[in-house]
């Protein structure tokens, strides 16, 4: 783990030690407080900054309330009692002014950071970005590597120090894609494409998930993000090509039915990889665009043809 000693961080000390100790050291990192890339690191830094600034307005409350309670307790006859005192211009100016100034500072920080960390904004890096298309299904994630011609379910491998450009959509209800250690979340919606950029600056295994409730299999919709060296990544690609099966329309239709990764794996009789991960050696070109455009053709998508719907039939597509 990285060194987190530094000025300003002690504020967070109590809580941070507690859960970093609990979570940070596991081999499946799932907290942005234990970041593995510039985006998550910047988000963490921003969090600490915000906490620091707000303390100026908060700490006086914590300190003064007990003092006041003690000093002006009913039995203390020595304290001044001024029942009709109810206004002071100076005090009022401070009460409005200080929070206002703090908010002004925070707003400036917010302005910069929101622009800097816009998920649609590409991350500057020397190498060309790796493009990945992400499809949210009930209850698993499909990752398509258009340039490599492969696809996986529930395993996102990326080379370290390479920026990754994700295009995301959903082929069921609205979902939310999140890899805490690398970048924040973004919704995925049927018929629409959202974007997310991320970069891992160290190798490791980072948990990813759908954070938006989508039904019974929702808690199983987790995936592993594997950041690895170039060499390892190429080996991984080769392995997917070698061990995977092709992803054609019929396979996709079956994959898209409501099921967890493990269930889908069993249904497709896919062998390679961990228990809820599926490898596809090839993908129909434009699968992602087809999925998106299905909703945009001005024709109804009845439940029979709608993955995730009650009454979806995975072979309906062919018989149509």
């Amino acid at each position: 783990m990285k060194n987190r000693q530094g000025p300003g961080r002690f504020l967070f000390g109590l809580a941070a030690t507690l859960f970093i100790a609990l979570a940070g050291c596991s081999d499946n990192r799932s907290s942005f407080l234990d970041p593995a890339g510039p985006i998550a690191a910047a988000q963490k830094a921003h969090l600490l900054e915000v906490i620091g600034w707000t303390m100026i307005a908060i700490v006086p409350v914590f300190v003064l309330v007990p003092l006041m309670l003690w000093r002006y307790r009913y039995r203390n006859a020595k304290a001044r009692y001024a029942p009709d005192w109810a206004f002071s211009g100076l005090l009022d100016t401070v009460m409005w002014g200080v929070p206002f100034l703090i908010v002004a500072v925070l707003a400036t920080l917010l302005w910069y950071s929101t622009h800097a960390l816009d998920p649609y904004k590409p991350i500057a890096s020397d190498e060309p970005p790796l493009e990945v298309r992400v499809v949210g299904l009930d209850w698993k994630w499909l990752f398509i590597y258009p340039d490599l011609g492969i696809a996986t379910v529930n395993e996102l491998a990326i080379p370290e120090n390479t920026s990754v450009a994700l295009d995301l959509t959903s082929d069921t209800v609205m979902q939310s894609f999140l890899i805490p250690a690398l970048a924040g979340q973004i919704y995925t919606m049927p018929g629409m494409r959202t974007r997310l950029h991320l970069l891992a600056d160290e190798p490791g295994r980072f948990e990813g998930m759908n954070a938006q409730f989508t039904g019974t299999g929702f808690t199983k919709q987790k995936f592993a993000t594997l950041a690895m060296s170039r060499g390892d990544f190429d080996a991984w690609v080769a392995r997917v090509r070698a061990e995977g099966t092709p992803l054609d329309a019929a396979t996709y239709a079956r994959l898209a039915a409501a099921s967890t990764g493990a269930e889908a794996k069993a249904a497709l009789k896919a062998g390679a990889g961990p228990q809820d991960v599926i490898y596809f050696s090839s993908v129909t070109p434009d699968l992602f665009a087809e999925i998106m455009h299905r909703y945009m053709q001005g024709t109804p998508v009845p439940p029979k043809l709608q993955p995730g719907a009650v009454g979806y039939e995975s072979d309906a597509e062919e018989t149509r």
Binding site: Y120, M189, M192, R193, T194
Partner: protein, 101 residues
């Protein structure tokens, strides 16, 4: 009953009606025969509609600026403010999302 009042009020209704009629006719005419660009047309009829709403408020609903009690106008202005926040906000947000998806 006061006849003078009565005829003044009657006149006020008629004035309002005439103004509203003129504005409506202008808006329809503009769309039918105006020959302006779509954007300009919509902006113009939008302006007509706003004015006509004020006419209705003034002459039919009897809201104006010269009264002792101000609750009415405050209420309407406040409602319009909130409605503007909600409606403009909705259109802005949805429009922005549409361009990014």
């Amino acid at each position: 009953m006061n006849d003078q009042d009565h005829s003044a009020e009657l006149r006020s209704y008629l004035v309002g009606f005439a103004a509203a009629l003129a504005l409506t006719l202008a808006a329809f005419a503009l769309v039918l025969w105006g020959g302006l660009s779509r954007g300009t047309t919509i902006a113009t009829i939008g302006a007509f509609a706003l004015v006509q709403m004020i006419v209705h408020l003034r002459f039919f609903l009897h809201i104006d600026l010269s009264r002792q009690k101000r609750e009415d106008l405050q209420l309407i202005l406040f409602s319009v403010l909130l409605l503007a926040i909600m409606a403009v906000g909705t259109i802005w947000i949805m429009g922005n999302l549409a361009t990014r998806m």
